[in-house]
């Protein structure tokens, strides 16, 4: 049986060159970057090289990169760090209804601490209307946090326009770019982004490492207290192998981005066209063109996502769904509800996210098994109209 991994939005395999770059720092090069002797200095230099590599990927300066344990910590640090630092200036934050839980739940926690949060709605394609941001801003607003590209439906938000509005009003702009970094070009200078979260394991780097870009001069408080690492914004001995791996992954992403993006876009469109033309009662979730190169998200009417995932798994295909069963709660994905899907249709969602190792044969294989799997589940469903069964 063929094995096809189509869940690159969940995590990616470490690139062989990334692994190679990390190995010395797990064994021989054991120094603590804060130590003064040679292996410590060597580790420090490796961390600084990685910092420059990550900065280059988003056109930031090396000293604007703070290494964290991943995207979630970066999001927490951005929101809570800024809110804590600026709570005397105002207590209003604007975000959206389709944020990753790392932002959404942090915003909800800030609400419990007395901040007011506005959650901007999205249109049926998942796009945020910049006019609504303009209208939501108040003199109390201290921060705007909008996801760069959605992790479920892949829609790429108009970050340039949104960040420009925030800048015009003197409000800090953060973006969770965990899914976008490495897949689409990002220039924090050109886009007027003040804070940006990214993660290693989404770009063929290791798990457990990420970074927050913090524009120079930004007033932000750390989440934890400890040593003076990462400009005191993230105390604790650096995860040197992870940082080195993230740096290498960022370097490779920068060099390979045009080729990766073109390859993924071609496969994605082939997959989307193939599914829409071979299966009835299916809808594409997310914007048709303003979407991440590797993201396809469908809803199959009359069936439920977990049973679809189990069936695909039995056929060797790894995928993801926004159904309640897979979200770990009783409700389907908040993103699918925000774009206006009914519960039934949201439960029947399937996310297929392509990566650099995928090829046309992988997509052909999916297209060869998916119609039968959907058909089998529909034949079992009481929701399927009689003439379709």
């Amino acid at each position: 049986m063929r094995n096809v991994y189509l869940d690159h939005a969940a995590t990616t395999a470490v690139h062989p060159k990334v692994l190679e770059s990390m190995l010395p720092y797990l064994q021989d090069k054991l120094g603590n970057p804060s130590s003064i002797y040679s292996s410590g200095r060597e580790a420090k230099a490796a961390v600084e090289t990685a910092r420059a590599q990550v900065a280059a990927l988003i056109n930031a300066q090396p000293d604007e990169i703070i290494f964290t344990s991943g995207g979630t910590e970066a999001d927490n640090l951005a929101l809570t760090g800024v809110a804590t630092a600026l709570s005397q200036q105002g207590r209003h934050i604007i975000t959206s209804r389709i944020e990753h839980h790392a932002v959404l739940h942090t915003a909800e926690e800030l609400e419990r601490k007395g901040f007011q949060v506005t959650y901007l709605p999205v249109d049926p394609d998942g796009l945020i209307n910049p006019d609504l941001l303009e209208q939501a801003l108040t003199p109390e607003t201290i921060m705007v946090s909008i996801i760069f590209a959605n992790n479920e439906i892949g829609t790429i938000e108009p970050i340039d326009r949104l960040a420009k509005i925030a800048k015009k009003h003197g409000v800090i702009f953060h973006t969770d770019a965990v899914q976008a970094v490495g897949n689409i070009p990002i220039d924090v200078e050109e886009l007027n982004i003040d804070l940006l979260s990214l993660s290693g394991h989404k770009i063929y780097g290791p798990k457990g490492i990420g970074a927050l870009y913090v524009r120079r001069g930004m007033n932000i408080k750390p989440l934890m207290q400890g040593g003076s690492q990462e400009r005191k914004l993230r105390p604790g001995t650096e995860n040197v192998p992870g940082i080195v791996g993230l740096g290498k992954a960022a370097e490779l992403a920068r060099i390979e981005l045009p080729a990766r993006s073109a390859h993924l876009t071609e496969l994605r469109d082939y997959l989307i066209d193939g599914v829409l033309s071979s299966i009835a009662h299916v809808r594409l979730n997310g914007h048709r063109t303003l979407r991440l190169p590797g993201n396809a998200n469908f809803s199959f009417e009359f069936i439920e996502g977990e049973s679809l995932l189990l069936s695909l798994d039995m056929a060797g295909i790894a995928a993801s769904s926004g159904s309640a069963c897979t979200s770990g709660s009783l409700d389907p994905s908040h993103v699918l509800m925000a774009i206006g899907l009914s519960h039934e249709v949201a439960h029947g969602s399937l996310r297929l996210t392509l990566g650099r190792e995928n090829n046309k044969e992988d997509v052909d294989y999916v297209l060869s098994v998916l119609p039968d799997i959907v058909g089998r589940l529909r034949a079992m469903s009481p929701l399927t109209p009689a003439k379709e069964a």
Binding site: E304, H343, P382, L383
Partner: protein, 126 residues
Amino acid sequence: MYTEKVMDHFMHPRNVGEIDNPDGVGQVGNPVCGDIMKMSLRIKDDRIEDIKFKTFGCGAAIATSSMVTELVKGKTVAEALALNNRMVAEALGGLPCKKMHCSNLAADALHAAIADYKEKQVQASR
């Protein structure tokens, strides 16, 4: 996360479909939770001669539906009524904890079908 028995019933569900002119039909669940189970019965001489199901839902929802049909086919109505959701889960070798509430409704669907059958009996005798 699922036992082999659950996966067997999920991949090879028994008694899928709908009975023509059934003696009783029951449906439970709702699309908000993502589980809907429909059972139809043919009852002869107080025994479940045939039972079929249709289910919209996760692997556990489909497997429990299939297991219920297997457990009660040929049984008396009273025996079928004695079956509960916990027993269905046990017959499958257990279900993941979070599935015990949301997806383990197949016995309820069976009971609803039997209630419909009894209702029809009462109406027919009037």
